[in-house]
């Protein structure tokens, strides 16, 4: 009993809450499916949610923790979807095994994730030379290049020509149970990325985000950790891509365009930069809202969906980031409200021990604020000038 108590104390509930919540939801849903209490359209929604959680969490590693803006996450997904899909088709046409079984999924997943990881390595290389906006455009370019290539290349599989603009026809996994695999993969993705971030390596990654020069000066191997961040992120995006190819009977490259990348980025940003739980919640919420609104607002009203989405996005970002609203935000925020209800969210400092104190990527302005003496430029400097003119 004593041992159990000390173990209970050791677990950091803030981190465990992700696994417990997702595991519980997965179990409940599995039970519901077994008893036939879930509609087909809901299963489709669940598949989409698991996919988007993996995408958001993996992008969060690059954007939130490594501090590099990536606009080509859909490109990695595209690579995963195509290579995974082709592997399963090859397995089926060569007669080794059925293309829609679990084993086929695992093999395809390994292939898709590996190729996506190689792509992550290739994109990580420019990241060593470029920073900020320049790197963002390179990732965007990567995504578009991948899309254009897969839109035009054709393959010969089992005597049939596939690929090109119409895409490839992939084996469809049994719809009834695919979301369970999805939840398992979500748990794996969260476990890997969250533990990576909390480890020594993760602290090195956040150190690079906060100040690359200082990180280098303290002996952190910037090259290694930047590449590591990009590769891990790409591998999980690739896995999400393989899931996409198994969840849909048709894969076309035009799905993985720049808008898809932006959609994932929005999930990460709305969830809060450098916050895994936030990314999970916002990915779930946005996907849910998106699918539901699409089914409610049909025909001419479908446009309203985009409009609402855009307005919410603008307002939330302004509310979360506008310097003028800072005092208001500090008074009323979700973390404070949560800690009032759940005691265990709070510790002495109000922050978790190894969490960065930034709720967003620090900018040069933040660093200047910290490092320099304040020179306040106020109106009085300009006013005499104006009066002289008169």
């Amino acid at each position: 009993m004593e041992k159990l108590k000390s173990l209970f104390k050791k677990i950091k509930w803030k981190y465990a809450v992700n696994y417990v919540a997702i595991g519980a939801i997965a179990l409940v849903l599995t039970a519901l499916t077994m008893s036939g209490g879930i509609k087909q359209s809901d299963l489709f929604l669940l598949e989409k949610i698991t996919m988007n959680i993996i995408l958001a969490v993996s992008l969060s590693l690059v954007v939130g923790f490594l501090g590099e803006l990536s606009l080509g996450h859909a490109g990695f997904m595209c690579v995963g979807a195509y290579f995974g899909g082709i592997t399963s088709m090859l397995l089926e046409s060569s007669g080794i095994m059925a293309g829609d079984g679990v084993l086929s999924f695992v093999i395809s997943m390994v292939v898709g994730a590996a190729v996506a990881g190689v792509c992550g390595f290739i994109i990580g290389l420019p990241a060593l030379r470029l920073r900020g906006d320049y790197l963002a455009i390179v990732t965007l370019a990567f995504g578009e290049i991948v899309k254009t290539i897969f839109q035009n290349v054709t393959f010969e599989i089992g005597g049939k020509t596939v690929g090109g603009p119409i895409g490839i026809r992939t084996p469809r996994f049994d719809k009834q149970y695919f979301f369970i695999i999805g939840f398992v993969l979500v748990l794996i993705a969260i476990a890997v990325i969250q533990n990576l971030i909390r480890s020594k390596h993760g602290r090195a990654i956040t150190a690079i985000r906060d100040n690359e020069i200082a990180a280098k000066a303290t002996g952190i191997n910037v090259t290694k950790y930047k590449l590591c961040g990009f590769i891990v992120s790409a591998v999980f995006a690739g896995i999400a891509g393989v899931m996409y190819s198994f969840a849909n009977s048709n894969v076309t490259a035009s799905v993985f365009d720049y808008n898809k990348s932006i959609e994932i980025l929005v999930m990460v940003v709305l969830g809060g930069m450098g916050n895994i739980s936030g990314a999970i919640i916002s990915a779930t919420f946005i996907t849910f809202l998106d699918v539901r609104l699409q089914s409610v607002l049909t025909g001419d009203l479908a446009v309203l969906n985009d409009m609402i989405y855009a307005l919410v996005l603008i307002l939330v970002v302004i509310y979360n980031n506008a310097p003028a609203l800072r005092p208001f935000r500090e008074k009323y925020n979700a973390r404070k409200l949560l800690s009032r209800f759940f005691g265990f969210f709070r510790n002495k400092h109000g922050y978790a021990d190894d969490e960065g104190k930034w709720d967003r990527v620090p900018t040069k302005i933040d660093m200047d604020e910290l490092l320099s003496v304040d020179v306040i430029v106020n109106e009085s400097v300009q006013k005499p000038d104006k009066e002289e003119k008169k």
Binding site: V63, L69, P126, R129, L130, G132, D133, Y134, A136, I137, V138, L140, A141, F142, E144, I145, T148, I149, Q151, N152, I213, A214, Y258, I262, L265, V266, V269, M273, V303, L304, D306, M307, Y309, A310, L311, L313, I314, V317, I318, N320, N321, A322, P323, A324, L325, R360, V361, P362, T363, I365, V375, V377, V381, Q382, D385
Partner: protein
Amino acid sequence: MDFLITLVNGLSLGGIYAMIALGYTMVYGIAKMLNFAHGDIIMVGGYAILVFLSVNPILAIVFSVLFCIGLGIAVEKAAYKPLRGASPLAVLITAIGVSYFLQSLAQIIFGASPKYVIIADLGSLVIGEVSISYGTIITLACSIVIMIALTLFVKLTKTGRAMIAVSEDKDAARLMGVNIDHIIMITFAIGSALASLAGLFSLLRVPTIMPTYGALPGIKAFTAAVIGGIGSIPGAMLGGILLGVVECVCNSIPTVAPYTMAIEFAILIVILLVKPTGILGKKRREKV
């Protein structure tokens, strides 16, 4: 001879890209933000022409330019100004939100299907066997005039010099009595006016318009601005023209044509790897 026509076409398309890229680069230089909604101003400009086209083409063009200037300023005041001093990523996401907003608004008002906007039937210039459409020639001539005018404006006028000062050092410029808000507003106004003109000239090339009309030229012009060195005005012109020529040359070879976009983006990556700040971009040393 075929190659010459391709080249003229490419230069004219390059002129359009350069005009859009100038908007990106000026806003980046002065407000230090990537204005992802810039491409959609082109689309709004095109629809604005459509509204008054039946009355008078000239009136339609003037209305389009004025409307875009107003829209550019309004977007800056409503969406970007509250975020001044916040992280660049937040501003970027807001810009993406504005882009979606404008697209969906256009879809609500004009519908999703493409609309034909034939501004004027200009015909073609025929020299011997070859013919070049007048639209192409006008685009090329106008873009050259606009670029020269813009360069002179920035170099010679007081406002233009203030813009350079703000892009070099915001705080120092403020201490010298430059009104930063005013300069940023003027930058957005100029960028939006150029975007609406780019919309006009692209309608002369292909006379159809739809709500996502501005997205692709927007991304390509952004690429052009980065190739030339984002923040540099001559760089945007150079990048735009380079990209336009590459696109037309690639499109003229049948086997390469489907991969045009991949080639353009590959050029971008190669240039950035060789010269990380673009062709004419200034290297800034980071101080510790």
